[in-house]
């Protein structure tokens, strides 16, 4: 679809906005509707739009599959370790009060960290799912090309 000028230019205009909106939802999650899950999906949607226009190969140059996989696990670990910090510092699991001196600052820090973990995992997992499905097509084509021989 790279040849289509309208699509290319609109995408080039939209992708940064989508990413920005994703980050807004991510970091405003503790005040307004939103949070890591929604933000992750929005960011992944921006990447998928890029992949649709410029092709999967180009999109995988931005973020290779292995990196997605590692980031997906990293997000889970970030969540789990932030929760664990609460226990280590003398509270309960996912207890944010012991993390920082100020009550509000502690809650905010905890929520943002945990939600960031969620966001990273959701974004990369959605990208991975898309990658697996998108790759199916080229695998199929490779198969059907071999068959006539």
């Amino acid at each position: 679809m790279r040849e289509n000028g309208i699509l290319r230019i609109v995408a080039r205009f939209l992708i940064p906005l989508i990413m920005l909106f994703g980050l807004y939802i991510q970091f405003h999650g503790e005040y307004s509707p939103g949070g890591g899950f929604q933000a992750g999906v929005v960011v992944a949607a921006g990447w998928i739009l890029f992949a649709l226009i410029y092709g999967l190969e180009a999109a995988l140059k931005v973020i290779p599959e292995r990196v997605m996989y590692v980031l997906a696990a990293f997000g889970v670990l970030l969540y789990a370790i932030t929760g664990l910090m609460g226990v280590i510092l003398g509270g309960r699991y996912l207890d944010f009060y012991p993390l920082l001196p100020g009550e509000h600052a502690a809650q905010q820090f905890g929520i943002i960290t945990v939600e960031f973990g969620v966001g990273v995992t959701v974004a990369t997992v959605v990208m991975l799912i898309f990658t697996y499905f998108a790759r199916r097509k080229s695998e199929w084509e490779a198969l059907s090309e071999e068959e006539p021989e």
């Binding site: 696990a73 309960r92 207890d95």
Partner: protein, 494 residues
């Protein structure tokens, strides 16, 4: 550190480990860390059980007091099930190493991470005291389970997994609808809080519908008779280790959720008057016992045979619940535990056969008894347990079920239980007859005995079957306490 603070880590250990294991390369470390996490979960669950027998433990997550925050609430009933789930994981993992190296040669990190997620999900369902949290963990464990089943080498595993996905999603959706209806009526999701608030709004159509949705939804996950269609193929084509783990845990946890909602959240008295649960569960339980055993008698695929036998065994547990008495629930919990021991042992033996000869069709195992005596002896001994021969675990749970049926005055049930046990004799005997009494087919390659890495865990499970058939202090004691804990809140306690 008090035991209450330690308790949630039986869920958190596998959950955190799954993130680590997903990143580990190779074949040794993913398995080793998984085993470590399962052992940690088991030890914590084992420490929790005695404490939970004395008093109910409550752990507020993030220090938000319940009912606002999510609470883990552990009494005898869920401590017992949690020990069962974690224990089965820890006991089946040593068996897994050799088998999984063959069946899932690549990307074992991802495989074991999925397994840990399934384990954490099942434990989470068990320990949590929050109705919505039950749904979340149910989805975690179910999604991981679908992916695990799809790892089977047989291509039909994909179809089996997809079918389970459809049926399981319907079940989970029903549960969610039920929970949403409850939330609509009471404004709370905490189970203990629900139990307090529900009597005010009882006998409204909404609450009745919620109960019906939850019972049917969990009936699906539990493979109660007319809703069992996903189970045989899912068990038959999954990797052997996955079958072993699922047979020991998944349906049991679903049964636990069902009784938890029926007895603790809604209150047994209410549940059994609004819905004709006593009749429906009894009819479905008995039908499951017969249909499952009947179909199992004609299966040539051993894993399918054992899967249908599982449908029958679920029938016994449902029958115990339907009696609505302390004795009946005790029998249900006992059979939950003992059936896990039996089925894990049987599936391990069958998986070991599959490891050696690559097939588990009845005609392919002819004459195998002389070539793999240890494996098939283990199968035969575990078979005695599923039949319910005295000194085995299977006898204990059937005995208590018969006592409960007699106490309720249903003497005819005793006859039915004996008849279905006879049917079990037949399907176990077919295997033994083929393996020991028939000649090896001409031209089949010589088979050696299975490696010790597979035999040792199998024999450990067989030994446990006999141990818990003789020393019943743990199982009967914990089951009785579990039944009392469930009936104590709002039920009619004798």
């Amino acid at each position: 550190m008090a035991i209450v603070d330690l308790m949630p880590f039986s869920v958190l250990a596998p959950l955190i480990a799954s993130g680590v294991v997903a990143l580990l390369p190779g074949r040794f470390w993913p398995w080793a860390i998984t085993l470590l996490a399962a052992i940690v979960a088991t030890v914590i669950a084992a420490l929790t059980l005695p404490a939970a027998l004395e008093s109910t433990l409550s752990y507020p997550f993030g220090n938000w007091p319940p009912p606002i925050g999510i609470e883990y609430r552990v009494d005898a009933a869920n401590a017992f099930v949690a020990l069962l789930v974690a224990g089965m994981a820890a006991l089946s993992l040593p068996w897994a190493k050799v088998s999984i190296d063959r069946e899932v040669p690549e990307r074992q990190g991802a495989f074991y991470a999925l397994f840990l997620l399934a384990l954490a999900g099942l434990l989470g369902i068990t320990l949590t005291g929050d109705a919505f949290n039950v749904f979340v963990f149910l989805e975690i464990s179910s999604l991981a389970t679908y992916a695990l089943i799809a790892h089977g080498r047989d291509r039909r595993a994909l179809l089996a997994s997809f079918r389970y996905l459809i049926m399981g999603t319907i079940g989970a959706t029903f549960l969610l609808i039920g929970i949403a209806l409850l939330y609509m009526m009471t404004g709370t999701l905490n189970m203990a809080d629900l139990a307090v608030r529900l009597p005010e709004v009882q006998h409204t159509r909404t609450v009745d519908a919620a109960l019906a949705f939850i019972v049917v939804g969990m009936g699906l996950k539990l493979a109660m008779l007319p809703l069992h269609l996903w189970l045989p193929n899912a068990y038959a084509y999954a990797p052997n280790f996955v079958t072993i783990f699922l047979a020991g845990t998944a349906t049991k946890v679903a049964l636990y959720v069902m009784v938890r909602f029926i007895f603790t959240v809604f209150g047994g008295e209410y549940s059994f008057t609004v819905l004709p649960l006593a009749i429906v569960l009894m009819a479905l339980g008995v039908a499951g016992m017969f249909a499952g055993s009947w179909v199992a008698m004609f299966q040539d695929h051993l894993k399918r045979m054992l899967a249908y036998s599982s449908v029958a065994q679920v029938g016994y547990m449902v029958l115990g619940v339907s009696l609505f008495s302390a004795a009946g629930l005790t029998a249900a919990f006992l059979h939950m535990f003992n059936h896990a021991l039996i089925k894990v042992a049987l599936f391990m033996a069958v998986g070991t056969i599959m490891y050696r000869i690559g097939s588990i069709k009845l005609q392919d195992i002819r004459g195998l008894g002389r070539q793999m005596p240890w494996t098939l002896t283990a199968f035969a001994l575990a078979g005695l347990s599923i039949i319910g021969v005295p000194t085995t675990a299977g006898f204990i749970s059937k005995w208590y079920l018969i006592l409960a049926a007699a106490e309720a005055g249903h003497w005819w049930l005793v006859g039915l239980i004996v008849i279905t046990s006879m049917m079990a004799v037949y399907y176990i005997w077919r295997v033994i007859e083929a393996a020991w009494m028939q000649e090896r087919p001409a031209g089949s390659p010589a088979v050696r005995e299975a490696p010790l890495a597979l035999l040792a865990p199998t024999w450990l499970m067989v030994a446990l079957n006999f141990y818990f058939g003789i020393d019943t202090r743990l199982t009967v004691g914990a089951s009785t306490a579990a039944a009392e804990a469930l009936l104590g809140v709002g039920g009619l306690m004798p």
